[in-house]
């Protein structure tokens, strides 16, 4: 045995002697490479080679504004509060004056409903106040599951998911699906939580002019042309369109039927945010899809806050199970925030039950919206922004000055006169430095279903007289 082993070794050694030169040279070269790699190389980070296009470079150069070393004082309006005492229902006590409330987004009047309050109080006695945990860590209560099932069945979708804070619903939902390299076509008038969701998603945003589907189609055609030039890239790029049902910043309604047609022609997913249209539009308050008679499956998900019509805290997102289930692990606001307190969940449940019991309230609400819209038309010096069916209207100056502060001061003066006459309206607030396209200053009117026709007329008259007092002098 030992002999044959040695014999094999001798054979091996002989093979090395008789090895071809090129092979041995290669091995020596590889040994030198190893030595160089192990002993004579230092780790370093290569420079980031992201290439910016000319247009992007120009835009970055143009956008750059040097910030002052010492920031200027915050503008006074933020320091001048109108203090509300008591509940802000149909009547609100502002600065110790009781006024008719046309500022709160309490469309269905649930804020002061005794039935909802009773349900919330009984659940407070049962569950306590908070949940002390996110949904994944002992924060899921039976009422959460109940509310999710009820919302899903009401919206005729497969599944719904609840968030504990309204704006975090949409700002968590968008980055759960849209990632780097994806393209989102967004309306220019989307509100701040949607803009925050878009920037958190790190995708390429293409803004299209507000409610201008022709502009959207132009952008889609450009995208299609790019895709044709680079089909391999197009196969991995996801395309989305983000719209609101009724826009908070303008009061206009999104033309959903045409958008769905565009969807099937240009192949993108629709993200519909229905904060103002849920519980407002449609025969049973299901929102924009019911209003236009569109199959809810044509929209990829519907997101809304429960803080407007349902008069509680929180938000939800509903759609197909395949879509919504993804947010249970990828929705940052769902996984990493404490869940909705049970008393607020029960308030939402009760509100949904009340919506189901009395579907006439939506028709009433729409009639009042129409009435307010008609009543505020033709005020000299002011224009009305919004749709007759929208519960939110924006009153803007017909001839805005160049200075935003001056316009806001004018509108504040009008609001102050209205408050003196007993009608509480508000300036549409926005954080100018955070908004991508800050909307022009406006007074935002909100309709409440509990308002009577007389009260709506009176509010319009008060607004007219306040405007004539401040604008025609």
């Amino acid at each position: 045995m030992a002999g044959s082993e040695q014999w094999v070794l001798v054979e091996m050694a002989q093979a090395v002697y008789e090895a071809p030169a090129y092979h041995l040279l290669l091995e020596v070269f590889l040994i030198i490479c190893i030595i160089r790699l192990l002993f004579f190389s230092k780790s370093y980070r290569p420079l980031d080679r992201t290439q910016l296009t000319e247009a992007e470079e120009e835009e970055l150069i143009r956008e750059w504004q040097p910030e002052p070393l010492v920031p200027a004082n915050p503008s006074p309006p933020y320091l001048k509060y109108h203090v509300v005492s008591g509940a802000a229902g149909k009547f609100v006590t502002v600065d110790n004056r009781e006024c008719l409330n046309l500022s709160s987004l309490n469309f269905l009047g649930f804020l002061e409903s005794p039935r909802i309050k009773a349900a919330a109080l009984s659940s407070l006695r049962k569950y306590g106040v908070g949940t002390c945990g996110p949904r994944g860590f002992y924060g899921t209560f039976d009422v959460h599951l109940e509310l999710e099932m009820k919302l899903a069945s009401m919206m005729a979708t497969q599944e719904a998911i609840i968030y504990a804070y309204g704006p975090s619903a949409i700002s968590s939902a968008i980055p759960a699906y849209a990632k780097r390299g994806d393209v989102v076509f967004a309306d220019m008038a989307v509100s701040l939580p949607l803009q925050q969701g878009l920037s958190a998603s790190r995708s390429n945003i293409r803004w299209f002019r507000h409610n201008d589907l022709d502009h959207l189609e132009t952008l889609l055609k450009e995208q299609a042309a790019e895709d044709k030039k680079n089909p391999k890239k197009a196969r991995v790029v996801r395309r989305f369109v983000l719209v609101e049902g009724i826009y908070l910043n303008t009061g206009n309604v999104c033309p959903l039927p045409e958008l769905v047609q565009l969807k099937y022609r240009y192949k993108f997913r629709i993200f519909l945010e229905e904060s103002l249209s849920f519980g407002v539009l449609g025969d049973t308050g299901r929102g924009l899809t019911e209003h236009f008679g569109i199959n809810v499956e044509d929209v990829d998900f519907i997101c809304s806050t429960m803080e407007n019509s349902l008069a509680t805290i929180g938000g939800f997102c509903c759609g197909r199970s395949f879509v919504i289930d993804h947010q249970r692990l990828s929705g940052q606001g769902y996984c990493f925030s404490a869940s909705l307190p049970p008393l607020l969940t029960v308030a939402a449940l009760e509100a949904l039950v009340m919506m189901e019991e009395k579907p006439e309230m939506f028709k009433e609400l729409r009639e009042q919206c129409r009435l307010l819209y008609d009543s505020v038309q033709g005020i000299p010096g002011l224009t009305v922004g919004g749709n007759p069916v929208s519960p939110v209207l924006h009153i803007r100056l017909a001839e805005p000055s160049q200075s935003r502060e001056r316009d806001m001061a004018t509108l504040e003066a009008i609001i102050e006169s209205c408050a003196q006459e007993g009608v509480a309206v508000t300036l549409a607030r926005c954080i100018e430095k955070d908004e991508v396209f800050p909307p022009p200053p406006s007074i935002r009117l909100a309709v409440n279903v509990e308002l009577t026709q007389g009260e709506i007329h009176r509010a319009a008259v008060v607004l007219r007289s306040a405007a004539s007092h401040h604008l025609l002098e």
């Binding site: 090895a19 290669l26 091995e27 780790s43 080679r49 990632k179 780097r180 391999k232």
Partner: protein, 153 residues
């Protein structure tokens, strides 16, 4: 999946080869592949070594230089979606310890295969081509390079 959220590295792929035991596991895997091949009676020793070398390099090429992205969703919104695993190691830093280890192992296997095939030219051709296919993509000059747009998206 909520990976990489509890500590500083948003892409866990970058630190796998630095973890305790991965080098040993790698060596054991290659060793067991070779053990299986060498125990086949119909394969000569030289052929078994060449096949070990080729299978190892093939697996290395596919896993390190062909497959892109991560098998999980990362909290950085898909920064590594178009990067191969080799490009993700240590967040793109070149010449780190793990990269040196992964560069040296195919060369060692090549030396062993060359020795046990007695430097025959047919085995030389196959082994050298296989080695080059796995060494060239590891050069820093080839970081994030896609030739002819293959495997770019």
């Amino acid at each position: 999946m909520n990976v990489g959220v509890a500590h500083s590295s948003p892409n866990p792929n970058s630190g796998v080869m630095n973890s305790r035991g991965t080098w040993l596991a790698y060596a054991i895997t290659v060793g067991s592949l070779h053990a299986v091949l060498i125990s086949m009676p119909f394969l000569s020793i030289g052929l078994a070594w060449t096949l070990t070398n080729v299978f190892h390099n093939l697996a290395m090429y596919v896993l390190l230089h062909m497959v892109k992205g991560t098998p999980f969703i990362t909290p950085d919104q898909g920064k590594a979606r178009l990067l191969t695993y080799w490009e993700q190691i240590d967040h793109g830093m070149q010449y780190t310890t793990s990269r040196k280890f992964l560069t040296v192992t195919p060369i060692i296997l090549y030396f062993l295969a060359s020795f046990y095939t007695k430097y025959e030219p047919q085995h030389f051709a196959v082994n050298t081509v296989s080695l080059m296919s796995v060494l060239v993509p590891k050069l820093p000059q080839f970081d994030r390079v896609r030739i002819f747009g293959i495997n770019k998206y």
